[in-house]
């Protein structure tokens, strides 16, 4: 079932540019633009590709966060059933919004986002992706503001509105109070799994974030301790004083290593966990879409049946409204078939996606765990080395 995906978006130099199709994107160079409340960060998005529909081997555009949101929303609309890669959150605290760390985390997450789309065999065909990667800034701005305008739902999709109204009416008419749900035990199991998974992951991520904080706090306390030890050493003087001073110096040096490791931990361990949580939330959104599609299918099928009954009645009474009713029935039938098709597509997509998701996550977490373990081992080694270097001097002190 594993579909052949194009070469991972992260590769910079494909073997033979012309034969192997590749689409590789990097999000780089965050720059703060604008002033005061209007200020925002812009990114350079560099696309390297040999896809036929794309302009040239390389294209560079400038994008901002809301452009990424636009892309995500469009993909979500068009590719129901597919787990759209998650975006990093809108910023929380104002003060934090322009901190170097936040900017770097967001940049990294955006880079991962686009590359996941680029390496997904269906999503990479998207026209919206092409627009996002190629269009000039004015076009992008126009599209973006249109999207965030009042008319989120395109008026062209009258059928959609019609269907929505219909569903609401038929609900009341048919005396149904609860929304209709699939009675598929395997799917139930999956839904339960997804919801539970989010809880577990959120907890793990919470502790991971705390662990980052602990590293920082330990670093700070080592720095303060080092300073105090140095002062004590200055007061003591002689060999003992020197020992204290050396200890203080080592302590301060370790403090720096700890701060570094805290940053590493944040980027290589906590962020992937957060990303995992977001991915699960994206799945939940797809689950929602599937539920909508299922409900529509059911309701249209019901409505169609009613219309059929009505039509037969009219035909029997040879009413002059038969023509009209027939026409309506045909439309409804088409809509119903469309809804069924959509629903079944979603089901099919989801089944593929879940396999891909599990494998992807095993990979992603594997890397994260590896980096985490490496970082902790490295830190512990630094600590051991630093303290160990003091021992000969301390020995010399006591024998003196």
């Amino acid at each position: 079932m594993e579909q052949q995906r194009s070469v991972s978006g992260l590769s910079q130099s494909p073997r033979s540019p012309s034969s192997q199709p590749y689409l590789s994107v990097s999000v780089t160079d965050p720059v703060k633009l604008g002033n005061g409340v209007q200020a925002y960060i812009s990114y350079r998005v560099i696309t390297k590709t040999n896809f036929p529909d794309y302009q040239g081997p390389e294209k560079i555009v400038i994008r901002r966060y809301s452009d990424f949101i636009w892309l995500r929303d469009r993909l979500f609309d068009k590719y129901k059933g597919i787990f759209i890669p998650p975006l990093p959150e809108k910023s929380a605290v104002e003060k934090f919004r322009f901190s170097a760390e936040f900017i770097e985390m967001r940049r990294q997450a955006l880079d991962v986002f686009v590359n996941r789309i680029a390496s997904h065999n269906l999503l990479q065909q998207s026209e919206d992706l092409r627009t996002f990667l190629q269009a000039d800034e004015e076009t992008m701005e126009r599209l973006r503001s249109y999207e965030t305008g009042i008319f989120k739902k395109k008026p062209a999709d009258l059928m959609q509105i019609f269907k929505d109204v219909q569903s609401k009416v038929s609900d009341v008419v048919l005396g149904k109070e609860k929304p209709v749900e699939e009675s598929n035990p395997e799917y139930e199991k999956l839904k339960h799994y997804v919801f539970e998974l989010e809880n577990h992951l959120a907890e793990a991520q919470k502790h991971a974030y705390r662990l980052v904080k602990r590293h920082r706090e330990l670093g700070q306390s080592l720095s303060d301790f080092g300073k105090a030890a140095k002062l004590l050493g200055a007061c003591e003087g002689q060999a003992l004083g020197k020992a204290f001073s050396d200890l203080g110096a080592k302590s301060e040096a370790l403090s720096i290593k700890l701060q570094k490791e805290a940053h590493q931990l944040l980027m290589s361990f906590e962020e992937p966990l957060k990303d995992y949580v977001r991915a699960v939330q994206s799945i939940k959104a797809t689950i929602g879409e599937r539920a909508n599609a299922f409900r529509q299918q059911c309701e249209l099928a019901e409505t169609m049946k009613l219309k059929e009954i009505n039509l037969d009645k009219l035909m029997l009474t040879r009413s002059d409204r038969v023509g009209e009713a027939e026409h309506e029935y045909k439309e409804l039938k088409a809509a119903s078939e469309e809804a069924t098709r959509r629903f079944e597509t979603i089901v099919r997509q989801m089944n593929e996606e879940i396999v891909r998701f599990q494998e992807q996550k095993t990979q992603d977490m594997g890397i994260a765990f590896h980096e985490f373990a490496k970082g902790q081992a490295r830190l512990a080694n630094n600590v051991a080395d630093a303290w160990r270097s003091l021992l000969p001097k301390l020995e010399a002190c006591s024998s003196a």
């Binding site: 799994y193 602990r214 301790f225």
Partner: protein, 556 residues
């Protein structure tokens, strides 16, 4: 919290505390685990909980864990050094730290032999570390078995007034004591009396300060907790006394440790008879400071003298001439500041290490839950692979968490030396005060003498003008001469006392310097060796995980 999320994890609801969950994880046959870790971990945890609470005032005893915290698995705790050689099955091959740990093991061996220990406190090996290196004689004191007793005499309220007594057991091989093991029951009042008597008898010495009376706390705290807190404090105090080379052999301490029954309180001076007898200060009283005594007149005189010293135009008759001493005093003050500062930073460091360990453990447990979850719900092999990876990381995190917490318990033990010396600084202040008050007494007496002499001269001059003598004046002169004689004696005694105290100060300062150097060096060594040892262990744990997950490594 745990049981509800993971229906498959049957054992969850059986355990109340996180520690038991950790034990469960590490008991898993899939992970290596040394059975003794249970006990050592538990005693360290309780040791740690005594530290992680509240800001720790250097002189007050550590707050012990409340019953809610106590680990149901905890039987009478035996302090075990996790790095003792029998743990090598857990860490193979023996690391650098295990080899270097040997000076440590000696102390921990001492502590293991302390069978009488019913306390859970992380008693610093402060008193032990030096005595074991200098000579083979020892005094081991333990305080235990608090009992509630009834006040029998002079009780206005019938059935009222209860107090607690503590069993004080001493083991020693010093012949002066006459016996090698003995015990006595004492109440806190006796300790106060002991402390007061020592202060009288050993002026100029660095006498360890006694535990506070803590009147407020005794009303506010739970009786159990307060009594336990006091027991610990008493034990520490007596250990410190036993660690002082001069005081350990004092009569006062001997009586306290051996003789049952109420301790005689300090000799008090009767103010009334004072006033009646006149204004002369008897020589034997001069050996005590005016302040704190009941001799109001003497107090007043010395106060006047000290004011004259500070504000008077003329230099006092005798001044603190020892420049070296003045410099030393300043330096001691500075040292105290630095030790206090360092001690505060140590507390922060200890808390940070503690938090690190806790969070690491919580992270590990969260992943354990995830692992179980993924395994139960697995529909694809990728999930099982991920679950296995998670378990690997989780187990490592839990191990690392334990290491951090063990490291912390040791850190506290070592750096507690700083706290000990802060307490000692108080004793130093006391000794310096002894010196200055003795000096003040000398100055006062000298001033007094000069006043008396000039009065005598005036009287003699006046009476010599009258031929045949002035009976009343002659009588007065006789009396004055007598007073001068007595005051002269007192002055000599006071000077001798002052010199004696100066000598005591000097000896004690030398002792402080020598011992402090040794203690601090040991403290540093212990701390560093500890850090190295545990860092190596933690590194090993993670290196294994990095190895096992190396398949995921990005080729960069």
């Amino acid at each position: 919290m745990m049981g509800s999320e993971n229906p498959g994890f049957e054992e969850a609801h059986l355990f109340a505390s996180r520690e038991e969950m950790e034990n469960l994880v590490l008991d898993d046959p899939l992970t290596t685990h040394h059975p003794n870790n249970n006990n050592s971990y538990s005693s360290f945890r309780s040791a740690n909980s005594s530290i992680s609470e509240s800001t720790h005032h250097p002189l007050s005893p550590p707050v012990l864990s409340t019953s809610a915290d106590s680990d149901p698995l905890l039987s009478p705790p035996v302090y075990r050094n996790p790095n003792a050689s029998d743990n090598n099955s857990y860490i193979e091959p023996p690391s650098y730290a295990d080899v270097i740990f040997s000076p440590f093991d000696e102390n921990s061996a001492n502590e293991i032999n302390r069978i009488d220990s019913t306390s859970q406190d992380t008693d610093s090996s402060f008193a032990l570390s030096r005595s074991s290196s200098s000579s083979s004689d020892y005094i081991k004191i333990t305080v235990s078995n608090p009992k509630k007793e009834q006040e029998t005499t002079n009780s206005l309220v019938p059935g009222g007034n209860t107090y607690y007594t503590y069993l004080i057991t001493t083991r020693t091989n010093i012949p002066d004591f006459g016996s090698s093991e003995f015990s006595v029951r004492r109440r806190f009042r006796d300790v106060v009396a002991l402390s007061d008597r020592l202060a009288e008898a050993y002026r100029g010495y660095f006498i360890p300060p006694r535990p506070d009376k803590n009147v407020v706390e005794s009303q506010v705290m739970q009786k159990q907790d307060f009594v336990e807190q006091r027991r610990v404090a008493l034990e520490k105090y007596l250990k410190r006394l036993a660690g002082h080379p001069v005081i350990r052999l004092s009569d006062e301490l001997k009586v306290f440790l051996q003789v049952e029954g109420r301790l005689p309180l300090s000799v008090s001076t009767d103010v009334a008879s004072r006033m009646l007898d006149g204004t002369v200060v008897a020589p034997h009283e001069v050996v005590q400071p005016a302040k704190g005594g009941r001799d109001l007149l003497r107090l007043f005189k010395e106060l006047r003298q000290s004011v004259a010293n500070d504000w008077g135009g003329s230099k006092p008759p005798v001044v603190e001439e020892d420049k070296l001493f003045m410099e030393k005093k300043e330096w001691i003050h500075d040292l105290e500041q630095q030790i206090s500062n360092a001690s505060q930073q140590v507390e922060t460091l200890v808390k940070a290490q503690q938090d690190m360990g806790e969070t690491m453990g919580e992270l590990g447990l969260a992943f354990i839950k995830l692992t179980k979850f993924e395994n139960e719900e697995a529909m694809y092999n990728s999930q099982r692979v991920r679950a296995a990876d998670m378990k690997c990381v989780a187990t490592a995190a839990i191990k690392a968490s334990r290491f951090y917490r063990e490291l912390n318990a040791q850190t506290v033990k070592h750096l507690d030396t700083l706290h000990e010396y802060l307490g000692l600084m108080l004793a130093v202040h006391g000794a310096f005060t002894d010196r200055s008050s003795a000096l003040l007494t000398v100055q006062t007496l000298l001033s007094e003498l000069s006043t008396l002499h000039s009065r005598a001269e005036k009287l003699e001059a006046a009476s010599s003008k009258i031929f045949g003598g002035d009976k009343s004046r002659i009588h007065k002169i006789e009396e004055l001469k007598e007073t001068i004689r007595i005051t002269e004696d007192a002055k000599n005694v006071a000077i001798r006392e002052y010199e004696r105290i100066k000598e005591n100060n000097k000896c004690e300062l030398e002792r402080l310097d020598k011992e402090r150097r040794v203690d601090f060096l040991n403290m540093l060594k212990g701390f560093v060796v500890n850090q190295v040892g545990y860092a190596e262990k933690i590194s090993d744990v993670w290196a294994k995980v990095a190895e096992e997950t190396s398949g995921y490594a990005k080729d960069s």
